[in-house]
């Protein structure tokens, strides 16, 4: 195995960029919830970083990328990040396997963290951490194996997923739907006003996500090369047309172009280009990003009509836009586009969505029925920040109780 210094530097740097996306997501989501739940949202994201990283090192990495057992899941050879010098089955990497393991670790982290958006304002912290640990093993690791490992059954069928449109976006979107359904609607939704408490936080968060996404997408080239440059350019173009597409759609539908729409549209464009960024030309990236922005607006409207409380639109923005991006490769790929590829891409979306929805529904139900996944009615009304974490996000020096004891 030849280790290239430039490639390794880029992949290690990209791992750091992708990690930064999760604190960015904490801001993106934190701004969108009510002020009484902002800390609960943020600490769930921090908790996901910690739990998923540990579970990844111990077990999930080897299940995703270890020696294959029938195309479905990896074996245990790399458990606990053992045999770090051994080559990864089927892969011709020019970076140390541990650099790849670290880079992929951050993918698992952000994918799980995305689910916090579906449980906003009502999910308990401890049970969520248990959920996150088990979910990473039983939902995320197998799908990563199917699609990213050269021995996975979808990979062998020729699925194209450059940076996780399927593994990250469709997976998290379908899981988020199951989680939202098991948790049930927030008290008062959709009758009561549950407007975002700080869109400036959301805008900063979207900016960090956008920044980190260059590591996510261009880093997935696993080398400092022309492919990474193409992925980076495609990523930027799609984010921009996603933003514009969302704004145009909402201006037509509601009469206003909004800040939240701009932030959401950029993310929707980034989601849509994620599977495609190494496989399509820049002009196609412009199209895919715009498709993402338009899809996002329509998918969110569907939520409001069907009345499932996917609170921060993980299904609409990640699930729907990820699926559109993945399928669009079948038409827009610069090489190999056609009916066959279109079928494979659609199969990957359906298989991933079915697996993620089914197993997440089972897992969330199990936790919900045993230890309880949803906060008490009292805590929900009071706000999770004070009720669960004994903190509040904002103190403007108002009259407050003295210190206890």
């Amino acid at each position: 195995m030849h280790v290239d210094a430039g490639d390794t530097a880029w992949v290690l740097g990209s791992a750091a960029l992708v990690l930064f996306m999760t604190p960015g997501l904490a801001l993106f989501y934190g701004g969108m919830v009510r002020s009484k739940n902002v800390l609960a949202m943020m600490v769930q994201n921090l908790g996901a970083i910690a739990v998923v990283s540990v579970v990844w090192a111990l077990l999930a990495y080897t299940l995703a990328f270890g020696p294959d057992a029938g195309g479905f899941i990896g074996g245990l050879r790399f458990a606990g990040l053992g045999h770090p010098a051994a080559a990864l089955p089927g892969m011709n990497l020019h970076v140390p396997p541990l650099a790849f393991a670290a880079f992929q670790m951050m993918f698992a982290v952000i994918t799980c963290a995305l689910l916090t958006g579906a449980g906003a304002d009502r999910m308990r912290f401890g049970p969520f951490l248990v959920f996150a640990a088990v979910w990473t093993v039983v939902v995320y690791a197998p799908v990563a194996h199917w699609v990213f490992s050269p021995h996975g059954w979808l990979f062998r069928r020729g699925v194209l997923d450059f940076a996780g449109g399927n593994v990250v976006e469709v997976d998290s979107g379908a899981s988020a739907l199951a989680l939202a359904l098991v948790l049930g609607r927030r008290r008062g939704w959709p009758r009561e006003v549950m407007a975002p408490h700080s869109l400036p936080l959301t805008v900063i968060g979207a900016g960090i996500l956008w920044f980190g996404w260059f590591g996510f997408n261009a880093g997935s080239a696993l080398g400092a090369n022309a492919l990474a440059a193409k992925a980076l350019v495609d990523t930027q173009l799609a984010a921009c047309t996603g933003l514009l597409g969302w704004l145009v759609m909402e201006r037509l539908r509601t009469g206003h172009a909004t800040t939240l729409g701009a932030a959401s549209g950029a993310v929707a464009g980034l989601v849509a280009i994620t599977p495609a960024c190494g496989f399509v030309d820049p002009w196609a990236a412009l199209v895919i990003g715009a498709l993402g922005g338009v899809t996002g607006v329509l998918a969110v409207a569907l939520k409001n009509r069907l009345r499932y409380d996917d609170s921060l639109d993980v299904v609409g923005v990640h699930g729907a836009c990820g699926a559109v991006g993945t399928v669009s490769i079948g038409v827009l790929a610069s090489q190999g586009a056609g009916v066959h590829l279109l079928g494979v891409q659609a199969l990957a979306v359906l298989a991933t969505a079915a697996w993620a929805f089914g197993l997440t529904w089972l897992l969330a139900t199990l936790i919900h029925r045993t230890v309880g996944l949803r906060a008490s009615a009292e805590a929900e009304v009071e706000g999770l920040d004070t009720a669960i974490h004994a903190e509040s996000a904002y103190d403007f020096g108002n009259v407050r109780a003295g210190r206890l004891g």
Partner: protein, 112 residues
Amino acid sequence: MKLVTAVVKPFKLDDVKQALHDLGVAGMTVAEVHGHGRQRGHSEVYRGAEYVVDFVPKVRLEVVVDDATVTTVVDAIVDAARTGQIGDGKVWVTAVEELVRIRTGERGPDAL
């Protein structure tokens, strides 16, 4: 003595404050409040979901004045706070039985 309470548009606070200073009113208390009268609320849109916000931001200003000056003070507030648009707010006057300056213990009009 009378307590004059005014609920006005937030951007008019500076004008009202200046008008009261010009009359020689020595102090006042203000608070940021939310409410609505005939104006009702306004609507906001987040990801296509439209919310009607019933309570809009206002400033409530309170000042205790002498019986002799109460009409001038009320007029000054009304003049300074008026835009002619809906939502300009209200002013009302209530009787004050007793007033004490905490630092000196002065009572009644002496404490104004």
